[in-house]
């Protein structure tokens, strides 16, 4: 297989693996956080405001790892420097 094909293959595989594996951890973490927050709100409905705000901030923190993976896979798919390099060399 020539270089263009190899880099294309590697990029598509890497993008899929990045977002696929990268979504597992944050999904488990967010699920646990929301479940805990829901049971806390059920126990203390008066504190719902503080709990909700803390939950949102925490979710944003957890979610950013998944967002990093997404950004990396988007860069691999749409703005891949290696692909551009090979295309420029070939063209």
């Amino acid at each position: 297989m020539d270089n263009i094909g190899l880099i294309g293959l590697a990029s598509v595989l890497a993008a899929g693996l990045t977002i696929g594996i990268g979504a597992i951890g944050p999904a488990i973490g967010e699920g646990r956080a929301v479940a805990q927050a829901l049971s806390s709100i059920a126990q203390q409905p008066d504190e719902a405001n503080t709990l909700t705000r803390t939950l949102f901030v925490g979710l944003a923190m957890i979610e950013s790892t998944a967002i990093y993976c997404f950004v990396v896979s988007m860069i691999i798919l749409f703005a891949n420097p290696f692909w551009d390099f090979v295309i420029n060399q070939g063209g």
């Binding site: 405001n49 949102f56 901030v57 944003a60 997404f70 950004v71 749409f78 703005a79």
Partner: protein, 240 residues
């Protein structure tokens, strides 16, 4: 924006020497003009009576919501932080909400805009910290709890700025991108559903950006107050 572009920076309308007028800048100006115009028009006809206009009611809800959130997080009067945090929230929220308008490219889908906003947060933390605690008091928090933590505190300062920028960019860009991909493969109903979801995530991201900025500022200004109160109470004890 083409399906291959991952940021509205790549859509250039007009070029003058080294300066490009790209979609990010153009739509940022549009959003700024819209916010200023709506605020001027609404606040021109403000009234304290009961028959206020709907727009005034709406703006009062937004301002009151922001003031309550800031007071909750910082534990202080919201006046000092309101202009900055309120501007962040309103600008990001309007950008994200307008992304349902066909043809509008939200400026927050560009890493340049979000990085600029995150850098203002970085500066604001320093400025509010120095205002509240003085330069030495502000710098002292970097060697707490021990001077060994100095490099980690400094790294944390930078990495949270990066996280703020990439989080907002990633969320909004993913919304735009998913709609663009769906338009190519299932253009009938599904893009509308994802757009509706984009409204929700857009509001949540604006809220999170503003709240996180406030949390960072509060963490740089709060310790001083606690210590101040402690010295006051010990003085009170010795007096009594």
């Amino acid at each position: 924006m083409d399906i291959k572009d991952i940021s509205p920076d790549q859509v250039v309308y007009f070029s003058l020497g080294p300066f490009d007028l790209n979609a990010t800048i153009a739509y940022t100006w549009g959003v700024m003009a819209l916010i200023v115009l709506v605020s001027i028009i609404v606040t021109n006809r403000m009234t304290a009576s009961e028959n206020m206009s709907r727009w005034q009611n709406f703006l009062e809800i937004v301002v009151d919501f922001l003031r309550r959130q800031i007071a909750d997080i910082s534990g202080e009067k919201p006046e000092l932080y309101m202009p900055y945090i309120g501007t962040l929230f309103v600008f990001i929220a309007v950008c994200n909400l307008l992304s349902v308008v066909p043809g509008f490219l939200p400026p927050t889908a560009s890493l340049s805009t979000t990085a600029a906003l995150a850098i203002t947060v970085f500066m604001a933390v320093i400025i509010f910290g120095v205002i509240k605690r003085g330069p030495l008091g502000y710098l002292r928090q970097y060697v707490k709890p021990t001077p060994m933590m100095l490099p980690f505190n400094i790294m944390g300062e930078f990495s949270r700025t990066l996280a703020l920028a990439v989080r907002l960019f990633g969320n909004i860009m993913s919304g735009v991108k998913i709609v663009a991909i769906l338009l190519a493969i299932a253009p009938l109903v599904f893009p509308v559903l994802m757009n509706a979801l984009g409204l929700l995530t857009g509001m949540i991201q604006a809220y999170i950006f503003a709240v996180l900025a406030m949390v960072y500022i509060a963490s740089a200004t709060r310790i001083e107050r606690e210590r101040h109160e402690k010295t006051q109470t010990t003085q009170g004890d010795s007096d009594g």
